[in-house]
Subunit: 179 residues, 2 copies
């Protein structure tokens, strides 16, 4: 038994928040065309949709507030909190209006996470947790702990980090890390 | 000469932002009584004013947006940026409405600081920079780098961290740390 719990940094967009689905929902709402996640695989999130639409959406009020919760995230986060210190770490600073929306979103969908454990930042290079779960390699490449790549359409070709395909796999992987 | 610049985490309230002065300004505006900083020395920021006023102010729209810049902070930060990677690290998460106000405040008063170098968090225990400049010992006690205690009325009795009384002293102290 350890005296100190290990810490995990968990990303929001693409990890606990199904932001890819929200891009598709908003594209259909604004342009009347429905894409599937499969159609956009292999492309970066912000370049996946025609007309630079995604890049516009992320600056619009309401976009981040309405993102669906990623399947299985809520239950998995609750389970992980039993054995780890969890920090939600989101690169929210690029989109100023997203700050309050993301804070409200967390309060609605993850009310059991204390404000003490929420971090909104620009880059994540100064975040020091024992583990980091993220869908972006730019965050994982410079992280100080052990990286876990959460599968997203834009990262399917990446093979330099341990991959977790869904929240069930995250919980299974982290079970082996409990001290 | 080093190949890697060292990093500094710089607090907002009480360090680059003269939040103590803003408490006094708002107290005078709302209660018609003017206190001086000297009258409140030795007390915690949130308990210093009668009627729990400070605790109310921090939840009111406009409070954080209007805080005066700490004397000398702007010029000192610009000078430090020549030799260090600077991160503004503010424990903003407890006061949700402060998030956008603090982001706007930085954009107005420190527009030369990139969004990549701004971090809003709850506690600061997972922030790993080489140095941390803060007025609260709770942040410095658990920080991973070298702590500098920025003098504030509420921390005058603390003697367990290297003290800097103003931004001139910060710049002088950090000159000795340039690699």
């Amino acid at each position: 038994m350890s005296t100190k719990r290990k810490s995990i940094a968990i990303d929001m967009d693409g990890v606990i928040a199904d932001t890819a689905q929200q891009f598709l929902n908003w594209y259909e709402m604004k342009y009347g065309v429905r894409f599937s996640k499969q159609q956009l695989q292999g492309k970066s999130e912000l370049e996946a949709l025609p007309d630079g639409a995604a890049r516009k959406f992320v600056f619009e009020p309401g976009f981040f507030r309405g993102v669906p919760v990623m399947e299985g995230a809520r239950e998995a986060v609750m389970e992980l909190m039993e054995n780890f210190d969890l920090y939600i770490v989101s690169a929210a600073m690029e989109f100023p209006q997203s700050l309050s929306e993301k804070r409200e979103w967390l309060q609605e969908h993850f009310p059991f996470i204390s404000w003490r454990n929420i971090i909104f930042c620009g880059d994540k290079s100064v975040i020091a947790t024992d583990y980091m779960i993220d869908d972006h390699v730019k965050n994982l490449d410079c992280c100080k702990g052990r990286p876990y790549l959460f599968t997203a359409g834009h990262n399917l070709s990446i093979d330099r980090h341990f991959r977790v395909n869904n929240w069930k796999e995250v919980v299974e992987a982290m079970r082996g890390e409990i001290m």
